[in-house]
Structure formats: C-alpha cells, structure tokens
C-alpha cells in the first residue's frame, strides 16, 4: 500500500475530505458572523466601547468565567468522583439527581434565586419576623444580584456539564492504575489527586469549557442579575445603536479569546496521553462506605442538588401550583411535542457530526481538518441570537438562490424551503451544541488506546469495522452522554429557535420566554417544569439502567478477547 503524506490533507485524504463536508456546514454560521464583522465600516463603535464599558465588562466577564470555571470544576468533579468510586445508600438516586440542574433554563434558575433571596422571599421574610423589621433598610442582607451571586447561581446550574463528562471517564477508568497508586503507598485521597484527576483532565476541561462558554453566550441570567458582561455590549451595539457589524466584531473577538484559551490548554497537554492500557483492565470497584463517611458523602452529594435543582424547583412548583389549569392547555402539549422532536433531531445530528469530526481527527490529524474542526466546535461561545443570524443569512441566501433558479428553469417557485422551518432550527441548534457533543465524544475517544486500532487493523478489520466493532461499543456511554447533553440543551434552547422558527410554532423554551418577556415570570413556571420533566426521561434512561453492568460488558479486554478469538 502506498501512502503519500499530503501536507494539508494528511495521510488519509478521503476521510479528510468527508469530514471537511461536515466541518464546512458547522463552520458556515460562524464564518457568516465573521463576514458580518468584516462588512462593518468604521463608525466608531469599537472606539466608543473601548473608551467606556469595555474594560469593566471584560473584567466582569473574566471574573465570571473564572469563578464559574472553578465552581463547576470543584462541584462536578467531586460529585462525579463520589458517585463513581463509592457505594452508599441512595447512590443511584444521587447519580440521577445530580444531572437535574441541567434541565433548568439558566435564566429561570436565576429568576428563582432572585425570588428566593428577595425581600418578599422566604429568607428575608424570616429575617424580618425574627428581627421585627419592617423595611429592608433596617437590616443587612447579601444581594444575590451581584457578581458573586451570579457565580454561585451559574455554578450551581452548570456543574452537570462537568459531572456528566467526568463521571463517565471515572467509570471507564481502570482499577489497575488506581491499584498501582495504592500499592505504591498512596491513600485513596492521594490516588484521586495524583492518578484519577490527571487522567480525567480532558473530560474535566471539556465540561468546564462548556460552562465557561455558557457564561459568554448567556444574556438572560446576567441581565436579571445585573452583571454586565461583554455580551451586553454585543446586544447594546446591535439593538440600541443599530450596528450588527459592530456586535459581530465584539462576538468575533470573544470567540478568538475562547479559541486561544482552548488552544493553550491543549498545548499544555499535547505530549500527554489519557487512554487506558488495553490489558489487565478491570473497572475500579466502588468502595463500600459506612458510618459518618456515608453521612458526609450524602451531604456532599445533596448540596449541588439542593442549590441547582431543589431550590429553584421549589420556587417554580410554588408558582405552578396556582396554575395547574394551564396543564390542559393545548399550546403546552403542542410545545412539548415540538420540543421533543427538535431535541431528538438535534441530538442525532450533533452526535453524528461530532463523531465524524472527532474520528477524522483521530485517524488523520490533518492540519486543515484539525484547525477547522476546532473552530467548528466554538459555536457555543457565540451569543445564540448572533449565531442564529449567522445561520439565517446563508440559509435564506440559499433558499432565494434556489427559488430563482427553479423559477428560471422550470417556472416553479420553491420559496423559502429551509428558512423558517424546523430543519433550520435543527441545523442551528446542532451547530450551537456541537461543542457539547464533541466534548463528550472526544473525551471518550481519548480513553481508547491507539493500540486497539492497530490490533483491530492487524487482525483484518477495515476502518468502518474498527469503528463499528471496537470504538462504538466502547464509546456507547460517551455517546449517550453527548446525546443527553444536546437533547437537554436543545429543550432549553431559545435564542436561535425564536429567530428561525416557522409560524405558530412554539417550543417549551419559547413559551417560557414569552411569559417572561412581559414580566410575568410566574406564568413561566409550568412550561419550565415541563422542560425539566422532558429532560428527566433521557437522564433516567441513561443513568437509571445500571450502566456499570454495560460498561463491564464492554471493557476493552472482552472486546479484544473477542477480536482475538475471531
């Protein structure tokens, strides 16, 4: 076999070209945003921003991202480690419950927190009744509408990104590495720090990156909390000063900074490998806990569930309990159905795309695919509405071009085929959440040793067979995790959906938003809870059915054994 090393396309031009198709579609909206940025004439937008809000907004954004990064990493990793390495009463319940904050739209969590900590909320009411106060000026109470408040709320809501990606890696982790550490004299605690944690680094980084990107693209929660991030500058420039180009410029700069951060982290670990040895592998067995340790672990696992889910859930349930009649509303049922269809479609597309890109990078790390692939998965760092515009313009351009051609050639008017259709929403959401699915898929793929590929190929398996018989079974859980994350994120997705949707088409998220848009957050409680309920189904499917058993069945050893026997 003759293989020519192509400096651009790498060793496997075929795969590179196929993956390039997927990547091109994923990059297109981001490229459109960049083109809009370039199209702007110099109208003083950036100078104005640099001389006014930009320094402060940049500082706020960096602090928020850093705070949420640390908060989600600590919460996500600790909870993932506890549920994957210990056995204690209620563990199964915690495994599921720890994912639930993800199903809550971020700005709804923020709203619930403000309600809870506000003057009329239960806490301050208690303070007043104890102290006998009548006005807020008579006592001190921490203001949740602040940067520390935002860091706390967003960390509580976003840690499941880290929890989910990290947990799966902890479960895939072989016991041998940990056992070696223990044999060499490390305590369980020490083994966690020096072995498990460094091995899980790609997964932790993937989760934390998502949480930090969410800080950048969010406008709903930060607006409620009065935390002026750079995203405000994007929207103020566009909507109040009529400069979409200026807005796109800021968004592009934000994107570039994220790209640099991600690239820097990769550079720092470029010489490291995170896969597990193919032999003598046995999943780490959870430690049975007893006594005070059980109580401590239960408390530690409860805290994130309470702050991220139960507290906002309580506020929503309270509002929803006065609006149960709305349960029968046909709008709610139609929206639920639309949400489920969109979320399922997006999850499928986003996983296939992530697999294509990640697999192409693994087999043929060509400079072009790698670079564009890295850009393609950054869509999540762009505010959703701006990315939506980036989807809208090329799609509408294509539709109008096709319509023109068809009229010319056949006298048929095709009109707007894609724009304003469900397909446009699925496309936009897939691009937005490619970062989400790609992170989980790539983290899983990095756990599979390249030796397994070689063994399979040596044993006569073709590339597709290797993928189907070796990689996919090993990555089942990672793919399911990726699917779950994208599914739930699409359920919550608002910005792109609201811009691109067809007539008379509501999802649960748009129902929620419409009520909050007229200042009636309380009416949003029921559809918000419906999002949580819809998100709960895949969570239970994923975690509830004893994944450790599946994992044991699909250990590399058994697969390699099968391969050897065959």
């Amino acid at each position: 076999m003759k293989r020519v090393l192509n400096p651009i396309l790498g060793t496997r031009p075929g795969i590179a070209v196929a993956a390039s198709g997927v990547i091109a579609l994923a990059v297109m909206p981001i490229a459109a945003v960049m083109l809009i940025a370039l199209s702007g004439n110099d109208d003083g937008t950036l100078q104005h921003l640099v001389s006014t809000v930009l320094p402060q907004a940049t500082r706020t954004t960096i602090l928020l991202m850093a705070g949420v990064g640390i908060g989600t990493a600590a919460t996500g990793v600790c909870s993932a480690w506890l549920v994957s390495s210990c056995r204690f009463p209620g563990k199964k319940l915690f495994e599921i419950a720890l994912v639930l904050p993800l199903a809550m739209p971020l700005y709804i969590t923020a709203f619930a927190y403000i309600e809870f900590f506000d003057y009329t909320g239960p806490l301050q009411t208690l303070v007043r009744s104890i102290g006998g106060y009548t006005s807020v000026r008579e006592y001190w109470f921490p203001d949740i509408r602040s940067l520390p408040g935002a860091i706390f709320i967003m960390s509580s809501a976003l840690y499941p990104y880290v929890y989910l990606t990290t947990r799966i890696v902890f479960l895939m982790q072989s016991a041998s590495a940990l056992n070696v550490a223990r044999t060499l004299g490390r305590s369980a605690y020490g083994a966690f720090w020096s072995v498990a944690l460094p091995l899980a680094r790609p997964a932790i980084v993937a989760g934390v990156t998502l949480a930090m990107m969410e800080c950048l693209n969010d406008i709903g929660a930060v607006e409620l909390l009065g935390v002026r991030t750079l995203t405000f500058a994007v929207f103020d420039t566009w909507l109040n000063r009529g400069s979409l180009a200026g807005a796109a410029q800021i968004a592009t700069v934000m994107l570039a900074v994220v790209a640099l951060l991600v690239a820097g982290e990769r550079m720092a670990r470029r010489k490291q490998r995170f896969d597990v040895a193919a032999r003598n592998i046995e999943p780490a067995r959870p430690v049975q806990l007893s006594g005070w340790r059980t109580i401590a672990v239960c408390l530690a696992c409860s805290a994130p569930v309470v702050t991220g889910f139960l507290l906002p859930g309580y506020v929503l349930l309270d509002f929803a309990s006065r609006r149960l009649d709305a349960l029968a509303a046909p709008e709610l049922h139609a929206a639920l159905l639309n949400s489920l269809v969109m979320a399922t479609g997006t999850a499928s597309v986003a996983i296939l795309a992530a697999l294509a890109i990640a697999y192409a990078m693994r087999l043929s790390p060509a400079p072009v695919t790698t670079l564009l692939g890295r850009i393609a998965v950054l869509g999540y760092a762009v505010p959703g509405t701006v990315l939506g515009i980036g989807v809208l313009i090329p799609l509408a351009g294509f539709d109008n071009w096709l319509d023109g051609r068809m009229r010319e050639m056949f006298g048929i008017a095709t009109g707007l085929l894609l724009t304003g259709s469900g397909a446009a929403i699925v496309y936009a959401c897939s691009v937005r959440f490619l970062a989400v699915s790609f992170g989980a898929v790539e983290a899983g793929l990095s756990k599979i040793s390249g030796h397994m590929d070689m063994a399979a190929r040596t044993l006569g398996r073709t590339l597709p067979q290797t993928l189907a018989e070796i990689h996919l079974p090993l990555m089942r859980k990672c793919i399911a995790t990726a699917g779950l994350l994208v599914f739930v994120d699409t359920l919550k997705e608002l910005s792109a959906t609201i811009l691109l949707r067809p007539f008379n088409f509501d999802t649960l998220a748009t129902l929620v938003y419409q009520t909050t848009a007229r200042g009636a957050f309380e009416d949003a409680a029921l559809p918000s809870l419906a999002i949580v309920a819809a998100g709960l189904v895949p969570v239970i499917l994923l975690i509830g059915q004893g994944d450790r058993r599946d994992l044991v069945r699909a250990t590399p050893e058994t697969i390699e054994g099968d391969a050897l026997r065959a």
């Binding site: 003057y119 006005s135 405000f232 109008n400 007539f503 419409q514």
Partner: protein, 352 residues
C-alpha cells in the same frame, strides 16, 4: 417484472414527494384567507385582538414572535418573505424596520382617520396603535409630593432613593433620547450622571421589580411604564403583586409643562406582503374603535384613537399629557442615548 416496476415505483415515489412538498407552497400561495404576522409583541398580549379579528373577518392569523433580529430575518428572506404585517413595541423598532427597508407605505383613509398624524409615519410606513407613559412610581408612604419632573430626578435630594431597570433597555433609551432631544447632549449627560448617583442600587430586573423595590423599602422612586401598574394591580394569581401596586402612586412627570415621555406600540406593512389585502384589513381592524378598546381594557395601554378612553384604573391616575416632541425626533437620538448610558457608566450604579 421487478425490473420494469422498479423505475415506475421510483417515478411514483418521486412524484409523491414532489406533490407532498409542493402542495403546501401552492396552497399557501392560493389561500387568500390568512395573514402572516411577524411580532416583537408578546403573543399573549395580542391574542385577544387576533381572535376578535378572526371572528369578525374569518381570516386566520399566523404569528411568529421574534424578540431580536426580526428586521434582519425579513431582510434575509427578501422577496420570498412570508411576512404581511409587523407588530412591535417601541419607536426604535419601528424606525429600525423603516431604515432596514422591510416596510411599505400604506395610505388608507380608514386608518388615517383613526390614528392622529403625530402617531404615524408621514409616508405611512408605520402606525402607532397604543401609547404608554414612562412614569414615576412613587412610594405612597415616603414621597409627599404629587408632581414631579424628569429633570428633578437628578436632584441630590433623591440620593440613594431611586430604582430603575438597565439604562440600555429600550424603554429607558427612549426616555434618555427624549432628554437629549429637549436639552442637548451635554445637559443630558449631566442629568444622567446625576440620576445615576441617586440610584439606590445597580440597575437590574424589569419594571415590576422596581415597584417591588418601593414595596420593600429599598427605594422611594422608580421609573416604569404605566401598564405594568395595571397588570400588577389586577394580578389575581399572584395577589402579592397587588400589594406592590398598592405601595406606589403613579406620577406623570412634566405633565403640567412639556409633557410626559410616551413610547408607542405599532404596526407596519411588510414590503413584500403576499397577502396585501388581508394585511390591510388587519391593520384597519387594529386601528378601529373595537380593537382600541381591547388594548385599553385588557393591556392597560393608552389607545391612540381619539375618543377611546383608557381603562378606569388607568384613568384613575389622572390625565396624561404626552410630550409634544415628535417621536421620530426622539428616535434619532437613540444611538446617542445608548452611548451616553455607557459613557456615564449608568448600569454600574452610583459613582459615589
């Protein structure tokens, strides 16, 4: 046998696909009895009107609510845009649609007879349907005075006593733009900085939460739109909000002199409206006495049609005298107002 059928099957299959995928397009083009709305307005607020329109004319309305980027979407869709009518709040949005070239002029005697000249674009590119005052909510307990001016809000006597939502919100941008239009940019800047230093807290939340701030004692004065008071005062599902409304009185700033700043909600005909006739019918209906009454009674806004009274609740606050400066003049200052908000660091709260 199979060899001869397969291509036929394929042909039938393709024809079926073509029929299925093209039928809706063909029927959409033919079905005269519908009208498509792109709306910046929250659907719940316009639903009663659209229901009444459907009942009266038999024309079905299709709505898509787009909170940001409506004009960009229409511009991208171009000649194939299905939109017939744009509904929106804020003069800025109407102006943006006009500047974006996605509207077309409407010159209709019936509409013009109902909507006074100051409430429509001279060329007929947009029409106001309701107006809403940007007013002062004052604590009944802690604020003695019953009249107030916007200018006065920069007076140090209010230090630490004023609550407001983000200065970059369209409602505040409209108000600040009117201050620039009246006083010039330099005085407006001084005023805005003075207002900033009187704030009780960093701007956040929506207008209702400012009323809640008065109820809780955090502030004595807040800026908000008129209709929120009506909606809070009549909120039966959250009776607590009735307490917030009860804690405040509505003061119309500058009511005795140059008039209170009002903004509008309005409508425009889309440039490539495929259902032109039905769109015109809808626009006539929304300007009619019947629809204007619905706006007054259910949404607590001020109808623009002369002779249609506001709701009793709104009327109980007294008569509003709107600022006589044309809204189009105010719209021109929006960009400057937005830049001013950044320049004085309004949203960072008091400097001292």
């Amino acid at each position: 046998m199979t060899i001869t059928i397969a291509p036929r099957m394929r042909a039938v299959f393709l024809a079926a696909i073509a029929a299925v995928s093209l039928t809706p397009l063909a029927s959409a083009a033919k079905a005269a009895e519908e009208v498509n709305i792109y709306s910046y307005r929250e659907p719940q607020l316009i639903k009663p009107l659209l229901d009444a329109f459907a009942a009266e004319t038999g024309i079905t309305t299709n709505t898509v609510y787009i909170s940001k980027g409506l004009v960009e979407r229409m511009a991208a869709e171009g000649v194939n845009s299905p939109a017939d009518v744009i509904l929106t709040v804020d003069i800025g949005r109407l102006d943006e649609a006009l500047q974006g070239g996605v509207t077309q002029p409407v010159n209709d005697a019936a509409i013009d007879a109902n909507i006074p000249a100051e409430f429509r674009d001279p060329a007929g590119n947009w029409f106001a349907l309701t107006s809403r005052g940007r007013v002062v909510y004052a604590s009944r307990e802690r604020v003695a005075q019953d009249t107030i001016t916007y200018e006065e809000l920069a007076d140090p006597k209010w230090k630490g006593r004023i609550c407001i939502r983000s200065g970059q919100h369209v409602y505040n941008i409209g108000l600040f733009a009117s201050m620039i239009a009246h006083h010039g940019i330099e005085d407006a800047e001084k005023w805005l900085a003075g207002l900033r230093d009187n704030l009780a807290r960093k701007p956040s939340g929506n207008d209702r939460e400012q009323a809640k701030g008065i109820y809780s004692g955090e502030c004595d004065i807040a800026l908000g739109n008129t209709y929120y008071v009506g909606r809070m005062a009549t909120n039966e599902k959250e009776p607590e909000q009735q307490d917030w409304a009860a804690a405040i009185k509505v003061l119309f700033p500058n009511n005795d002199a140059r008039g209170t700043h009002v903004n509008i909600s309005g409508m425009a005909m889309a440039k490539y409206a495929p259902h032109h006739e039905n769109a015109l019918k809808l626009m006539r209906f929304l300007a009619s006495e019947e629809a204007q009454k619905v706006y007054a009674e259910q949404v607590y806004e001020y109808p623009v049609k002369p002779g249609v009274p506001p709701s009793d609740l709104v009327a109980s606050w007294g008569e509003i005298h709107p600022d006589s400066l044309p809204l189009s003049e105010i719209a021109k200052q929006r960009k400057a107002a937005s830049e001013l908000v950044d320049k004085v660091g309004f949203d960072s709260g008091p400097a001292s």
